[in-house]
Subunit: 269 residues, 2 copies
């Protein structure tokens, strides 16, 4: 199985229009193939410098691919016509470190001091792996990839820190080296895996009890492979307990106009 | 000619001690071979978010390799024992967009709201090119590399913007492709060249009149090759006219403990 534009959209513009109008509010996996999709975190400016420090010091889980101006919902380096208040299919609001609500538009929650930070996302390397014939078990089984807290320490940045969250995909042993090579080509999408094999070595007690997503069985001829995960940044934002953070809802990413293979995520006309 | 530790230092720690004490205040070209050297910009925190936005949107001229905490002179992701107030051989102070003075220590100028941003530097790719047998004419002739303003537009970020500054190195035509391949391996050190050939195409009127550095003759069998240059960021900082900016003095870089070949500039014990 490989990704395809399962929803039938022909162009990124058509998809963006459907998302913006609210006509489409589903997952973005498999949509806009070849375009970089992004984790999104929106926060008041007073926290943005620390958050950017934190991300820059932890580029594997938190690869910054774009930053908006304070109070401006455009993301001109990611595409010519993005309005971050409307252009995610679904958003998640957290207040004081607690889940508040999911919404499909944040115009009512936007503030003049908001800063948007976009991070790369695992859809990019998953597509590349599947294109190379390396199966993604969670995709085949229509599950959300399992994610785990680990003992891997992060570099702290201001008020943000903690340990890394990883995602796990079972691979056949013979596929591991090629998967590492392929993923290493995408440093803006978490890059190469951070660990292969024994989960307990990175502080994971039980593969069948992920903290996020759904458990995926590792077959006898497979080995669990772990990638740095964008949930790491959400986790750090929540732990800091800041008054309001808006993120994408899981799997409901920003579709950018940047090619996944671009060396640098700067949109040009 | 290839770089060697011309000053005779055996270790980075020995060199750092000499710089910190003031015993060494010279250029850092050829010192600590294999270690990432950094452009430095130090500014009040109120300008740092915009500056980081600007750099993230212009990764070719302004590749961020480290950011300090507000008011903290340590740079823990670049090395275990860096004190940015003492560890550059020479600093340049600009007040309100104008050159103020060069100093060898900035303890007297440090403020509680200072933020240090470190950017990659051309010494990295120059060393790699020379190691591959591609001569650097300005090094052979003991000249400072020539640098030029161009018409290449930058992505603006907050108060920062303008056009790109480039450095020029003459290469034999047959060396150009290999030089591009080698430099592309170092995205944290300006990456591949941005232009090859006709200077007027990027707004350079006369190769023999560089804005910074010294003119280097292009021989008949050579072509001028242009790289994005870290002076771009200094230029943008000056144009913004902020009250106090401290940078490295030209050629007097921060020596980090990061290997030049590191995929990510995060120091680990």
């Amino acid at each position: 199985m490989t990704y395809q534009d399962v929803a039938g959209f022909q162009t990124v513009a058509e998809l963006r229009t459907a998302i913006r109008s609210g006509a489409f509010s589903g997952h973005t996996a498999g949509l806009a193939p070849g375009k970089l999709q992004c984790n999104i975190a929106i926060m008041p400016a007073e926290y943005a410098l620390d958050f950017m420090r934190f991300c820059l010091r932890n580029p594997r889980p938190c690869p910054i691919v774009g930053v908006g101006e304070t109070g401006d919902p455009a993301m001109p380096t990611l595409g010519p016509d993005i309005d971050i208040r409307h252009d995610l299919p679904r958003y998640r609001l957290y207040r004081n470190g607690q889940f508040a609500e999911d919404v499909t538009d944040i115009a009512a929650h936007w503030q003049d001091d908001m800063v948007t930070v976009a991070l790369g996302c695992s859809f990019t390397f998953e597509r590349a792996l599947m294109a190379a014939g390396i199966p993604m078990r969670h995709v085949d089984q229509n599950l959300t990839v399992p994610m785990y807290r680990t003992s891997l320490p992060l570099e702290s940045g201001g008020m943000f820190g903690g340990t890394m969250v990883v995602s796990m995909r079972p691979l056949r042993g013979g596929d591991v080296p090629r998967a590492v090579e392929i993923c290493a080509r995408y440093p803006l999408a978490h890059g190469a895996p951070v660990h292969v094999g024994d989960p307990s070595a990175i502080g994971i007690a039980a593969l069948d009890r992920p903290e996020w997503g759904e458990a995926v069985r590792v077959a006898p001829d497979e080995v669990p492979v772990f990638w740095a995960c964008g949930v790491t940044s959400q986790n750090a934002l929540l732990a800091a307990g800041i008054p309001l953070v808006i993120t994408h809802a899981p799997g409901h990413m920003l579709i950018s106009e940047i090619d996944e293979d671009a060396a640098q995520p700067i949109w040009k006309p």
